[in-house]
């Protein structure tokens, strides 16, 4: 019996693995269809307008037309839009991370008057849609003189609820044993130092998650930047710039494809490098 098993095992293992490889091959095919629009966009961004119309299905361009990128970058102002987007995104990520970390920390570790109410109000606003708050946000920004400026856009974006980020920090700080804080206090650290040199470094995984999630949300945001840049086209972000591009030059499709690649590439790059934190962060949010 053992003899027979020893002889047949290699072949049967191969046969047993075969369906899995077939399944994987099928899924790879599906995934190729899934990412096709991106491949098509990259391909279109390197063709000339004529070739894009005639050979729409051919993914490999005859000659690489880099001028599309030059046109999108200079004439369509995507260089400027990209800088705007980077500035808005980076500052928003910093503000959101710091404010959610401090808020989550205090709520998780201290009892104070109104802490329960505070948490309750936060949870009640977990899913406020931008469409609901946009009119007062614009009006209050006008009154504060912040409309039509990158600064106002940044404040409005970082003032969005971000309740899930606060809750992520809240959950994480709650389960850190209190001995760590005690040790810091015995070593003579005050409130501020305990937080910034002991607690915040411990929360590195949460910070990474919140930073990446905020990065992607802000980079991709559209409604708020659209409304904030109505009368000042030079403060558009890439997503708004893309929309305006379509309105202005409906014929320059290859230029638009190049602009699309410029706008999407950075965020995809960030995702590819940091995807572990990203996936874990989302997973953590569902499990708790």
């Amino acid at each position: 019996m053992t003899h027979v098993a020893a002889v047949t095992r290699p072949r049967s293992r191969f046969l047993r693995r075969l369906p899995w490889w077939l399944g994987a091959a099928f899924l790879v095919g599906t995934a190729a269809v899934w990412v096709f629009p991106f491949v098509w966009m990259i391909s279109a961004s390197l063709k000339d307008n004529l070739e894009m119309f005639s050979g729409g299905l051919n993914l490999l361009p005859d000659t690489l037309v880099w001028e599309n990128y030059v046109r999108a970058w200079n004439d369509a102002n995507f260089g400027r839009y990209l800088i705007n987007t980077v500035v808005v995104t980076v500052i928003t990520v910093v503000i959101v991370t710091v404010r959610c970390a401090t808020c989550g920390y205090v709520l998780a570790r201290y009892r104070f008057k109104g802490s329960k109410l505070f948490l309750g109000v936060l949870i009640a606003t977990l899913f406020v849609p931008t469409g609901y708050t946009i009119i007062p946000v614009v009006k209050v920004s006008m009154q504060l003189g912040l409309i039509d400026s990158l600064g106002g856009m940044i404040l409005a974006l970082s003032g969005a609820a971000y309740v899930s980020a606060i809750l992520l920090y809240y959950g994480y700080f709650r389960q850190i044993p209190r001995e760590l804080e005690e040790a810091a206090v015995i070593d003579g650290a005050g409130f501020f130092r305990t937080f910034f040199s002991v607690m915040l470094p411990l929360a590195m995984p949460v910070t990474a998650t919140v930073a990446i999630l905020t990065f992607i949300t802000t980079w991709n945001s559209f409604f708020l930047p659209l409304v904030f840049s109505f009368s000042r086209p030079e403060i558009r972000t890439v997503s708004v710039g893309m929309q305006a591009f379509v309105g202005e030059t409906a014929t320059d499709w290859t230029g638009m494809a190049a602009a699309g690649v410029i706008s999407i590439l950075p965020v995809v790059a960030v995702f590819v490098f940091m995807q572990r934190y990203f996936m874990e962060g989302i997973s953590g949010a569902v499990k708790s």
Binding site: A31, I134, F271, V286
Partner: protein, 330 residues
């Protein structure tokens, strides 16, 4: 090891974990500072959130109610109080009810596809024997991280009846070209399909996280007991996923209310208002009209906010219910 005993050990470890959690939270710690100094620090730490969240989230929620009661074009400072006239106007507007219907219809089209198809895909991608799992997960996830507004524009090209590659493909097979986004019948389903494509990955990750809460040894025990794939799914996976099914469904419903970006860039609400969701209706009255009517738009926004709030309440209830479910029946 039987399923029963696995469940027991899991429950014990959960109880121990809960007990540990309770002790770290409830017997509060030796705080770094005491008295007024501590209170000052606490409020200092809350200050950025109180200011930003107060101005840009809490105030707008309240102000919307006030705006919905005035007649106001947004330019001059004059706001004329008109009571519930805006609501009457909104409710009498067939275009508002059209956008309300479109919003709900869109939800009905999108949610089952996102929740159930992504569950199937997650179950496949959760299997330890499948090769290339990491690559596949990333491929299905990529649309999630890309900019929705840009996807909308790019998809207009991809689906263009004259020169888009999809119609090119159809013609290659001798089929007639379809104006996917210009046709009143196809616009909404096509937009819904694109939305599912765009956000499928995130629901799939939710499901993967949920599936990973099932210990592998339960499956092994079932396999040793001779259960087939169908039995394993019906008697192990499905019951254990029930609490997550509630949470993920409600999360997905909430998310479908935020699709201004895609709809606005893809169709702008057309053709003939056939994809005009409430957010675009609000935008049209508040920002796109030559004479903005903020009162009218705000009344629509308040109604929209209430709709979302109802689902938010269901959401909270669902989280509690699923927690109880998981505790009672791990």
């Amino acid at each position: 090891m039987s399923i029963r005993s696995v469940q027991l050990t899991r429950r014990e470890s959960r109880n121990a974990k809960n007990a540990r959690r309770a002790s770290t939270v409830d017997e509060q710690m030796v705080a770094p500072e005491r008295g007024w100094k501590r209170t000052t620090w606490i409020w200092l730490f809350l200050l950025p959130t109180i200011i930003l969240y107060g101005i840009y989230t809490i105030y707008p929620i309240i102000a919307s109610y006030w705006y919905s009661l005035v007649e106001w074009n947004g330019f001059d400072s004059e706001q004329r109080f008109v009571g519930i006239a805006n609501y009457q106007a909104v409710f009498a507007d067939p275009f508002f009810w059209n956008s309300f219907r479109i919003t709900l219809l869109f939800m009905l089209l999108v949610v089952p596809a996102r929740v159930l198809l992504s569950l199937l895909m997650a179950m496949v991608l959760n299997s330890p024997k499948l090769p290339l799992v990491g690559v596949l997960r990333s491929a299905f996830f990529i649309p999630v991280v890309t900019t929705t507004a840009i996807i909308g524009v790019v998809m207009r090209f991809v689906l263009d009846p004259a020169s888009g590659p999809v119609n090119g493909m159809l013609q290659l097979f001798g089929l007639e070209g379809v104006d996917f986004l210009g046709d009143q019948k196809t616009a909404l389903p096509v937009a819904a399909a694109l939305y599912v494509w765009k956000f499928f990955g995130i629901t799939m990750i939710y499901w993967l996280a949920a599936l990973q809460t099932i210990p592998r040894d339960i499956y092994e025990a079932a396999r040793i007991d001779g259960a087939n794939v169908r039995q394993t799914f019906l008697h192990i996976t499905l019951p254990l996923m029930k609490p997550f099914l509630i949470i993920i469904t409600v999360l997905t419903i909430e998310e479908t209310f935020h699709n201004f970006d895609l709809m606005y860039t893809l169709t702008g609400g057309g053709p003939y208002f056939n994809t005009e969701i409430i957010e675009i209706y609000i935008y049209r009255w508040a920002f796109a009209a030559s004479i903005p009517q903020l009162g009218h738009a705000s009344a629509a926004a308040v109604f929209f906010g209430l709709l979302v709030a109802v689902f938010g309440a269901i959401q909270l209830w669902a989280v509690y219910a699923s927690r109880r479910m998981r505790r009672a029946n791990p």
